[in-house]
Symmetry: D3
Subunit: 213 residues, 6 copies
């Protein structure tokens, strides 16, 4: 009798499930070749999606910290990891060599949680009330940085440090303060008026950071 059931049951579930196939928007793997929208990229066709779209291996490789800040950020945002498109989440890897620093920056569109996997990191943020909240984090500690606020991370240990940061957006954005102020063509006198720094300091940093004006 069980064998008699097989076909009808299969049929039933096919009926029940048939509209699922047509409707699936459980996910929306980004078609990066199409123009973006305010809610994210249009979706790749479901029939072309494979398990590879949901996995990313780029964070397994240490970033190059042979640079002045002795640090590197490796993102897994929509552009690198199209599977997170529309899902409100993304990750990045932080490598900090001895003395490494991630300078003051903001993410305009996301809150962040830092997880320390190796080493010791001094991290902090400044609130709208200009209160500073900062603390030295050890392996296994996590710290949250609320959306849009200036924050930093410094390797405060004797060896290298490794962290992973999670964001509450597939596309959190990143505005590095020094680069925003000095790494473009905004005229020195405007920077001076709007930062209270003297023109000489500004011009020096513009030179270092590739800005002009």
């Amino acid at each position: 009798m069980a064998s008699k059931m097989v076909l009808p049951l299969f049929f039933v579930f096919s009926v029940l499930a048939s509209f699922s196939h047509a409707l699936v928007q459980d996910f929306c793997v980004a078609d990066l070749k199409s123009p973006d929208t305010p809610a994210g990229f249009p979706c790749k066709k479901v029939s072309l999606v494979t398990e590879k779209d949901f996995v990313y291996s780029g964070l397994g490789v240490a970033g190059n910290t042979s640079n002045l800040i002795k640090a590197a950020v490796t993102p897994a945002f929509t552009a690198q990891f199209p599977g997170v498109n529309g899902l409100g989440i993304s990750l990045a890897r932080l490598d900090l060599a001895v003395g490494g620093v991630i300078p003051f920056h903001t993410h305009p569109a996301a809150s962040e949680v830092l997880l320390v996997v190796e080493g010791t990191i001094c991290a902090g943020f400044v609130s709208s009330a200009n209160t500073v909240y900062f603390k030295t984090l050890n392996k296994g500690d996590i710290m949250v940085f609320p959306q849009g606020l200036l924050h930093f991370q410094i390797n405060s240990g004797k060896g290298g440090a490794l962290g992973f940061v999670s964001f509450s957006s597939a596309n959190p954005g990143l505005q590095i303060l020094d680069f925003a102020l000095f790494g473009n063509e905004l005229p020195t006198d405007i920077v001076a008026k709007t930062t209270f720094l003297d023109p000489a300091t500004i011009k020096k940093l513009k030179g270092v950071l590739g800005g002009s004006g």
Copy 2:
């Protein structure tokens, strides 16, 4: 004097209303031929939209319950009813013959309200705390099933039952537990490890539900 008013008043309102025409996004009838986005399908041109886009008659027809579960689900989601695209709401029809059952399932993207129109339905859901909330519903009763939780509906009366379910999304998704576990190629040993069911049971259900592996 009234006739003198006609032109100016008409003119005024034309001015007032002119920008409305260009801006209308009161609704966004889905253009199902375009690729989906995380917020729904692109909109059909307003000039092509008619009252028919906002009406759907497919729920007026009973689903075929001549199957093992003696039940049928007829959806009016974006794919069937493009007028709800972007509006955060959709409906479906439930037909349950005597003994009919809608097995355990979830809607990943929506809460649901069931309205019993005919008959008696025993319905319930399980919370994250694993508490079961279930109750026998009579004609006119409504029950809410919070987003993403496992729930079921059983015809517990002596005749047929008819219900309509509303969702808090134009595209609520549907994951039927048995089909998700047994209706695909997920290897039996993985199913066994992740469900605590024995391989024989799994293989039997895979056979019934069209799965393999």
Copy 3:
């Protein structure tokens, strides 16, 4: 050996599930005695929640249509059905006697889908572009009314009509045009200036609808 497994397995799942108990916000049954918030009412304690909080029987009773509009609306919003609080969905029942009318109204905070369960209803809405979309609906038909737009329902059949409406909010609001214009103390001259109706018409309707001024 199976008996040996019982305790450890139970223990495991207890561990896995223990944090669920503390965290459960699968739902948030409204505590209507607390002050509302922009996101809905504070939640009733989970330990006090029962299956009754998720079921409402008030829509099973026909509304009283012995009135001038020969119609009645029976809501199941947060205030009547606290189980929908925070879940983005609610329902209402429409009873329309022969000749019954639900006059022009809006829901400021929700889109609506009407399901006709008995009879024939002529329903329509007006877009921001002032286009009217209206259609006669028969049993089983559904029609969507996008958020915030003026819409109406008229019993256009020879017998009574019964409909159920679903909303994309637990608290959709309801602004009935005539009542908004004429059922309060807004001075007649202001109503006249802002509606182009003549004062006599306004005063008459104010009298009928309980307004003054």
Copy 4:
């Protein structure tokens, strides 16, 4: 030594900033030629965006108030000002000559704040509970009109009045009551049934406002 730093520091920040370039969705200037989506228009390519996309001068010009309502509304919504697409904000200018009136209307998709820049405006709205909140506003006063509710503005001073309104949406919509009721082809008998106005009044206003039926 400072000169030695230049290249590496520039290199560092280039690395840090390189993924920003690819990911930027700080903004999404509307490509108005593409079809709209429920979340707004697709984005213009970042490489084509200039500062002009974020500035609009159309509100600097007074609207033409030589009309019956002696008032004009000049919008800066997505269609006029594509830079606000996806950013949840837009503006409009209100010009009211002596005796000018913005008749009862709603914005289905946004709350509004009115700022009086010149003159005196009597403004008000009606809640779902049919309570009227209205007040005379002077230069510098602001008033908020919650989403989707009927509201009006009247020049109640002896000279002209100028206001600017802000909306909580890039595309707030606008439904002017009289135009919605009388400026289209909705049959007079339906308007009569759904507004309690008599057919003669309706036909007269239809004539004035360009409606028929």
Copy 5:
């Protein structure tokens, strides 16, 4: 016969409207004495709400620009104007004397539109890609600043300037760069490491801005 209609019609609408009264959450005037929530403050009782809750006159008064930046910001956020609570919109007034500057700052939780009412303002913002978008704005011009990005406003004319800014949040937040970096107790060496400024510059600005460490 009309007189016979009066009572029933009034009765009808009372029935229709009765549930409105209980359900009204068209608005949620902030009860600032209660603790805030992630969605805004709990609501003042509707019975205590008056038209005064929806109007604010504080922006009618010029801010005091007798200070070093020759500028003043006067907010109308939830704390000053409780009527906007939960409505996703707020305003502020900018007064800029000759030479006045609103230094670089961000709003972590809102996009902003600036309207120039008097004078000439040079305004700009920096994107995540470090591109600067800036432009000189004249009376009547508006400019949008996307959420979370660094931006500034400078009086670039020969007389005073007056602007009003609108935000896409009732509580946009405000982080003034100089104050965030130098107006608190963040140790100088941490500021130096995270900004590339030299300690002497930092200590000088800390002194000026009231910071220590």
Copy 6:
């Protein structure tokens, strides 16, 4: 002259910043003693908030895997880590001993990204279309699991495995399939009807998992 500037500049910024203090809702550290709301817990007073509220050390300790599934989940959700309240993000730690398994489960309110920090994990999810996406992940790999879908993680390596999961909600919920089906008092005949499992299997698992009925 610089010393003359000190007071006015400090004064200026105090003025600019003064309203920030009153308005700060950059964050909303949960006051767990107050009743929850649909948007999260009410906020702890800002004056009582310290840097400790934004840091959590509980994920630095390995979970106890001496149990049948040889695995442990350690959450850092709002209940454990009140600093994430309202910020749309949270984390958890996964410890999997050799042979360890996180059985099929869903998070009703969040998407998840898994980061493998040690070992090898076979992870997968099932879509609404019943397609299985699963893959073996090595150290440094990340995988995304879209909201509300059934998913699992299995230690497929020869040693222990360690992972961290991030969620797009401060309170993602957790519904473990076996516990939901068998760890409560839902009657065996209902479970049988709604899962197609035979009563003997159900009763056995109920015994193991602490359920009854």
